[in-house]
């Protein structure tokens, strides 16, 4: 099982990049929320990887075919 981790890169100019790895579904957002809250003005530059859209067994998505979320 891939290690779940969050990488925070603070560049030399002070800009911040947050990367979530090894997560599936929307759990990555829970993992990074406490960091992203520090920047309430937002980034306008959030990209989702294919894993974000993968179904996870513990997610419940009423109205959608069984096992699919997002």
């Amino acid at each position: 099982m891939e290690q779940k981790k969050v990488l925070v890169t603070i560049a030399r100019d002070g800009s911040v990049k947050v990367e979530a790895e090894g997560f599936h579904g929307k759990s990555c957002e829970e993992a990074t929320a406490f960091i992203e809250r520090l920047f309430p003005n937002g980034s306008g530059n959030k990209t989702y990887k294919p894993e974000y859209y993968e179904a996870v067994n513990d997610e419940v998505c009423p109205g959608l075919p069984n096992g699919y979320c997002g």
Partner: protein, 126 residues
């Protein structure tokens, strides 16, 4: 990976910023209300605080939203590195504090690394 987010430099923790700016040899002034600050020529910026870094001709302004407005005109090129260092140090301390706090509440392990290119990387393992 599942998602990436990027955030430009901004300042919302004023006390932290003041300490770091003064550590870098700068001066800091906090206003009671949003105040116009003169930059180059007749240009002004509305801010809640301003700071002046060594070697800079004009001050940097912090807006109500935490954005930075500045004009580097007339300053030596290398003095931009001072602002970059201020912002990197600020975000480093801000984020490290949040990570340390989170580690008290969750089963996470983390470490900090200074990269050869000058970036700072925090790795948080879940």
């Amino acid at each position: 990976m599942s998602h990436n987010s990027t955030f430009p430099a901004s300042i919302l923790e004023i006390d932290l910023a003041k300490r770091i700016i003064e550590q870098h040899g700068g001066t800091f002034e906090l206003y009671d209300k949003v105040t116009p600050v003169t930059l180059y020529g007749e240009n002004t910026a509305q801010g809640i605080a301003k700071f002046h870094l060594p070697g800079w001709r004009y001050p940097c302004v912090i807006t109500q939203k935490g954005e930075l407005i500045y004009d580097h005109f007339g300053s030596r090129a290398e003095t931009m590195d001072t602002l970059r260092s201020v912002m990197q140090t600020y975000n480093d301390e801000l984020i490290m504090g949040a990570v340390a706090q989170q580690a008290q509440n969750e089963n996470i392990h983390y470490y900090r690394e200074e990269m050869p290119n000058g970036d700072i990387q925090l790795v948080i393992n879940y």
